[in-house]
């Protein structure tokens, strides 16, 4: 009898511990801070350009070239070789974390290209990789908002 009584007390204590353990943790709901959709609207100019790794920035006059993004469209001013040669519409693959931009020149098929959107020295930059001529020739334009 003595032994049974002891066992019962231990059993009760165990149940109490398990209950305590089960109720001690309350799941906290974490609300993820929502990443702002990337807004690239504005007038962009080339600040750096490379062809197959060779810097073209100082040997080609990029000063007049502009890409003007609106909410969904874009237009090219003083054209230079680019992914598209006509104005049209663009989309980002993910409005919050875009890594691909798709241009659809009016009347043409959509073309997509890798795209990064870093902040350098406090300024947003757009870096676009493309091949306007032969597929083996790769160009990178780094764009910054023109004032």
């Amino acid at each position: 009898m003595k032994y049974n009584y002891k066992a019962k007390r231990i059993y009760l204590a165990l149940v109490a511990v398990v209950m305590l353990a089960a109720t001690s943790c309350k799941t906290e709901k974490i609300v993820p801070g929502s990443e702002a959709p990337k807004n690239i609207a504005g007038n962009w100019r080339v600040i750096k350009a490379t062809r197959n790794g060779t810097d073209l920035t100082s040997i080609i006059d990029f000063s007049q070239f502009r890409i003007n993004f609106t909410d969904k469209g874009y237009s090219l001013v003083n054209k230079l070789p680019f992914l598209v040669s006509k104005d049209g519409a663009f989309t980002l693959d993910d409005p919050q974390y875009p890594y691909k931009i798709t241009f659809t020149a009016t009347g043409d098929k959509p073309v997509s290209t890798p795209f990064t959107y870093p902040i350098v020295n406090g300024k947003r930059q757009l870096s676009i990789t493309f091949s306007p001529g032969c597929a083996n020739n790769t160009y990178v334009y780094v764009l910054e908002k023109a004032n």
């Binding site: 060779t54 040997i59 001529g133 032969c134 020739n137």
Partner: protein, 335 residues
């Protein structure tokens, strides 16, 4: 016993030393391309046989490793699709297979095999950066144990001139093994390379003559481009003395031929056509331009080729292909 040692010391010391030295010599030499049998010329589309003779002594036990082979060819040949390689050796015969890009070399610092070869051996003496290393490996591994010498012939059959271009090019060859890569250590050098040999000539094509071997008066970078690329034209006055010797700047005088059968001539001496000397005494002059804009072609036109001369400031002194009166030519194409 004692007398035996003394005996060696006395009588056979030289023999023993010679054996030791010979042993070290055998163990130290690593992979070696001993020679290459390569024809001097071929016509476009011909399948060319090339044999690379290799000798791979064993430098201590190791492996088994795969024999790696790199073949330096013009990109336009599309050699990966147009080449078969077998190997024959005392230890067995088999096929060489293309190394997939996902198989990274040991000691290659994360580069693929072709990129590792390009980093080590560059363009193999070719003057135009339009050649590639194509990397193969044996289908079976070979052992380094027991001092076995792996003497192997690589039998290449490659179809030349897929781009239909006539050319002069320096082919190149390199071997190593998958266990070491392009390295050396106390046991010796684990690779061998043969580049810069006689120029191999391809004839019978309908495209431009591409000369990788001899310095050209003008070059266009990228070597393969379309009218919607930026192209850099370089005039190299160090190749030979021309009538433009001593000029501080030279000018482009060009004719574009378009897909709709038109010709557009731009022959003026302005900043638009000016090739600047890269430094005051370099005798090398450069102009980078966008052909579509330079020739002001319409949206529906494309430029298929151009002919050009270089002129002085007056436009009266002209230099053409090979320092003659004939124009330089360039075809806009990718293949």
């Amino acid at each position: 016993m004692r007398s035996y040692l003394l005996h060696i010391k006395g009588k056979n010391l030289w023999k023993l030393c010679a054996l030791v030295v010979l042993g070290i010599a055998l163990a130290c030499c690593g992979e070696q391309i001993t020679s290459v049998d390569q024809p001097a010329t071929a016509t476009v589309g011909a399948v060319v046989p090339i044999t690379v003779h290799c000798d791979i002594p064993t430098a201590g036990d190791g492996g088994p490793d795969y024999l790696i082979f790199g073949f330096l060819v013009p990109k336009g040949w599309k050699a990966a699709q147009n080449t078969t390689i077998t190997y024959t050796s005392k230890q067995g015969n088999g096929n060489m297979t293309l190394i997939p890009d996902g198989t990274l070399p040991k000691n290659g610092g994360g580069l693929t095999w072709p990129a590792y070869m390009k980093k080590m051996f560059g363009n193999g003496g070719n003057l135009i950066d339009d050649v590639e290393w194509v990397a193969y490996q044996t289908d079976k591994a070979y052992s380094h144990t027991g001092g076995v010498e792996f003497i192997v012939d690589l039998n290449i059959k490659t179809k030349v001139g897929a781009d239909n271009n006539n050319m002069l090019v320096k082919l190149g060859y390199t071997i190593t093994d998958s266990g070491n890569g392009f390295t050396s250590d106390g046991n010796g050098t684990y690779y061998s390379v043969l580049t810069g040999m006689n120029c191999f000539e391809v004839t019978g094509g309908t495209g431009d003559l591409v000369d990788f071997c001899n310095p050209q008066l003008t070059t266009i970078d990228p070597p393969k481009s379309l009218d919607n690329d930026f192209v850099t034209l370089t005039f190299d006055g160090t190749v030979t003395d021309t009538h433009l010797k001593g000029e501080s700047e030279v000018y482009l005088c060009a004719t574009a031929y378009t897909s709709d059968g038109k010709t557009i001539i731009v022959c003026e001496q302005t900043t638009k056509t000016m090739l600047k000397q890269t430094t005051a005494t370099s005798k090398k002059y450069q102009l980078t331009f966008w052909p579509r804009s330079f020739f002001n072609v319409g949206d529906t036109q494309t430029i298929t080729r151009m002919e050009y001369y270089l002129t002085d400031k007056t436009g009266k002194t002209k230099v053409g292909y090979g320092n003659t009166d004939a124009p330089f030519t360039y075809t806009f194409k990718c293949g």
